[in-house]
């Protein structure tokens, strides 16, 4: 195989096959949508691998309803400062009362 042919295989063919397989696995694992819908995607992925994989990944639903960002994960999540920030936030927004704030503060100092 020539260098160009090898590059095409490594950069295009293998990742394309990888996407196709990932699409099949994703349909089975996510369990989103109806059984007929998932079955339809599987049939499409088998019959029209390229087109169906593109369509599936561009229109697949998000995992869960909650908002999700991306970027560095938080380190030191158990730190006293971050916990204190959460308490003040809850107090500012009226989620916890003054006595609950003091109790949580005392617990934070003990811990």
């Amino acid at each position: 195989m020539s260098g160009a042919g090898l590059a095409v295989v490594v950069l295009l063919v293998l990742p394309a096959v990888g996407f196709w397989l990932a699409g099949i696995v994703d349909v089975l694992r996510r369990g989103a949508g109806s059984r007929w819908g998932r079955g339809g995607w599987l049939v499409a992925l088998v019959l029209l691998p390229g087109l169906a994989a593109v369509a599936y990944f561009l229109t697949r639903p998000a995992v869960g309803a909650a908002a999700a960002g991306f970027g560095p994960r938080r380190h030191g999540a158990s730190s006293r400062l971050l916990r204190l920030m959460e308490l003040v936030e809850a107090r500012e927004q009226g989620v916890i009362a003054a006595d609950a704030f003091e109790a949580a503060l005392a617990e934070l100092d003990d811990g």
Partner: protein, 399 residues
């Protein structure tokens, strides 16, 4: 959820990953996401604000947008495609058409959808939020009046540098606002004004709201030093949250935090960061990242060039997102056609996925390599942590 909605959201997610280095989300009570919800957000970055929200939410909200945007036919088509609801502002003339806008909001909420509104009514470059207008309160009370258990959720949108590509952004959700005690009648002026004041107050707690950008920078620095010292890590979303809390702390704590933080500037800050997770994988992926850079370099440079234009940051934020969206999607499409022309559509079609995928690999690898050679830019100083802790406790107690 219609396939078109999911397509727009997935596209927004991919473009967000290209345009921003990180979009950090803080949501202390995500239970609202499974209910009908009215999201009320600050409006500091024009079109970038809805685009950012679209990229991080679990499902596409119906955005309220000023009706004058529909005067441009292409923009109107785009907004219709995205399910936006036109709202008529008093400043633009008659507000008679808002009966339909409110009805559309009630219907969407009754179907369990989310509606997003920027209640300042305009986008701007000021450090302080503008006063919230009454529309959000009227929608919330009107929805309650027709029996919808709507959650009103304040959403703070934060940008490290609005015009710069690969800068950081953060989204801070507040706890849903308790609507008990409000008469569920949008014609009750007293209830509308009380709820508007509540929304205004709660939105300012999660959004950036400082008297000046100098104040924002000084409190941001104090927050960064405290977080770096305490956790060895300065996430943008935590820095923004903490800066706001410190600014809201009572005197003399506020002043003490700034004084102690100003002294911390003299502490040397040159030590390298700790181990970078994923660095080994990033090194293995360098060849693929090189391909990703080559494929996406042109749209990246075009989008980056937007930051060089002399214009207001809020304008550049809008232009950056629009240019980035068009430039990246057009480039991926061109690559797909080029590959299809050479190797057929069996490989041309997957190239539509591979071009952005390689781009994402490139930014992932570049971010990790950059983190590995970066040096700590924020000093560590336990005195700042002490002053910040005192200020936070005082803030919690004076609330």
């Amino acid at each position: 959820m219609a396939p078109l909605d999911r397509f727009l959201q997935n596209l927004a997610r991919i473009v967000a990953r290209m345009l921003y280095r990180s979009v950090e989300v803080h949501d202390p009570d995500p239970s609202w996401a499974t209910r009908p919800a009215l999201l009320v957000a600050n409006h500091f970055a024009g079109f970038a604000d809805p685009a950012l929200l679209l990229g991080i939410l679990g499902k596409r909200p119906r955005f309220l947008a000023k009706a004058t945007l529909w005067r441009s036919r292409p923009v109107g088509r785009l907004l219709d495609l995205g399910g936006a609801i036109p709202v008529h502002r008093a400043v633009d003339g008659s507000t008679a058409g808002n009966v339909d806008a409110f009805a559309a909001c009630y219907e969407a909420l009754a179907r369990g959808e989310h509606v997003a509104i920027f209640p300042e009514g305009t986008t701007h470059d000021e450090a302080a939020m503008r006063r919230v207008k009454t529309g959000a309160a009227r929608i919330a009370l009107g929805a309650r009046a027709v029996g919808v258990d709507v959650a009103v959720v304040p959403v703070g949108l934060h940008y490290e540098a609005k015009a710069r590509i690969r800068s950081r952004a953060a989204v801070v959700f507040g706890h849903p606002i308790d609507l008990e005690g409000f008469d569920p009648d949008p014609r009750d002026r007293e209830a509308v004004h009380r709820l508007t004041a509540r929304i205004d107050e709660r939105l300012r707690l999660v959004a950036s709201d400082f008297p000046s950008w100098e104040d924002a920078a000084r409190f941001g620095f104090a927050a960064a030093v405290a977080l770096e010292t305490e956790t060895g890590d300065v996430r943008y979303v935590d820095e923004e949250r903490l800066a706001g809390m410190l600014h809201r702390a009572p005197e003399p704590h506020r002043r003490q935090v700034l004084e102690v933080a100003a002294a911390a500037r003299r502490v040397p800050a040159g030590r390298p960061r700790r181990r970078v997770p994923g660095l080994g994988t990033a090194l293995l992926l360098v060849p693929f990242a090189v391909v990703g850079v080559a494929v996406n370099l042109l749209p990246y440079l075009v989008t980056r060039a937007v930051g060089l234009v002399k214009a207001a940051p809020v304008t550049l934020a809008t232009v950056k997102v629009l240019v980035g969206l068009v430039a990246f999607v057009a480039t991926w499409t061109v690559w797909a056609f080029l590959v299809a022309g050479r190797y057929g559509w069996r490989l041309g079609l997957p190239t539509l996925l591979l071009a952005p995928f390689y781009g994402l690999v490139a930014v992932w690898v570049v971010d990790r390599l950059a983190a590995a050679v970066a040096r700590r830019s924020v000093p560590r100083d336990p005195a700042v942590v002490g002053a910040v802790t005192d200020a936070l406790v005082a803030r919690g107690r004076t609330r």
